[in-house]
Symmetry: C2
Subunit: 215 residues, 2 copies
């Protein structure tokens, strides 16, 4: 399908899991991530997962009882990969850079989100589409992500209001939706290359901040 794209490697983004779990299990998950991302869960044959992982088909079932179980294992792993990416940068910016203007903080956050999606695109694409008709797994993902984003955005909003940078009418939920919407629309319509992205983020924030600024 997309031959140009490189294989995703869990080792890079979740090295502690890769270190504390059998090599073969990690190889199976990696093979599954990449094949699911390319052709989807249903169209992926366990035979192909085995081939890509460089093992025999039967070995898969020593580590996972069913094909489904591979997908189920992937959900908490995806959460572990993206949750710290959501939390850490905001905390860093809030702690280390207390006096940066709000729009600089938001710009850094947006760029960081888009970078995260660029880095983990394959992993996200392998899991997310399959969750649409698996409500429990989707909820698991949603509930571990959305409240966290909202928490951080309202922290920024409180700070901005206290400093008199943001208008009192600004609602954290709506602001989160505007930012989430930007990230979503951007991921869907653009090819996600870093240079033009940086420009677009600036332009988006320049306009959005006008609407949020104290008046």
């Amino acid at each position: 399908m997309e031959h140009s794209e490189e294989n995703y490697d869990l080792q890079v983004y979740l090295s502690d899991y890769a270190k504390t779990h059998p090599d073969k299990e990690v190889r199976i998950i990696n093979a599954a991530i990449n094949t699911f991302a390319e052709k989807g869960f249903e169209a992926t044959r366990t035979k192909e997962i085995a081939q890509r992982a460089g093992i025999a088909e039967g070995t898969i079932f020593r580590y996972f009882p069913t094909k489904n179980a591979i997908l189920e294992r992937m959900v908490p792993l995806l959460i572990r990969v993206i949750q710290p990416k959501i939390g850490r940068p905001i905390e860093e910016i809030l702690d280390l850079n207390q006096d940066a203007p709000v729009d600089r903080i938001l710009a850094a956050v947006l760029k960081d989100r888009l970078q995260m999606i660029r880095d983990n695109g394959r992993f996200i694409r392998s899991v997310l589409p399959e969750l649409i008709h698996r409500a429990p797994l989707l909820d698991q993902l949603r509930q571990s992500i959305l409240p966290m984003i909202e928490g951080y955005v309202s922290q920024v909003v409180r700070m901005g209001k206290a400093r008199g940078e943001l208008d009192d009418s600004v609602d954290a939920k709506l602001m989160m939706m505007q930012m989430l919407g930007f990230v979503l629309a951007y991921s869907m319509t653009k090819g996600l290359n870093p240079e033009e992205e940086a420009r677009d983020v600036e332009q988006f924030l320049q306009h959005s901040m006008q609407g949020w600024r104290k008046r």
Copy 2:
């Protein structure tokens, strides 16, 4: 799955197709839309489509060579359903209401989009998820929708600039992305009920317009 939701009926939203095509064919498509929306394409058995359509399994294959062909037929139908919904209201507002302020036009457009998604949610949910790993079909859908939205938004932007309501720096593409993003984020996070939606749309536009207005 979601028992509360009513069955989607193509007849309601594409009556000319329903009139010019065999009754059984329309029944099959309706049954497929609703079953795909509930369990997804792969998990849907042709037997179940037949049962819901009130016909025998074999009859499906008199109207469609393969199960896949049902999905492929659905894509142009979805386009036919949502394309006029995108075009007509904007044209109406632009033609009949030349002197309405830009933010009123945008509010009407946004509300109309959200209503369209509410009306055709089942149809969209039955088709869209299945296109993620079928690039040609997805492109077909994207290319018939995105340019149209962009065209209309730039029309509004040109008008707004000419009237001195919108700032010269406003970029139609970015504005489209902000609006598309709002619709996307809204569809994903909210339960889509009309009353609170109207309030949120107003709030969104109130802030966004601050950023777009002539200064």
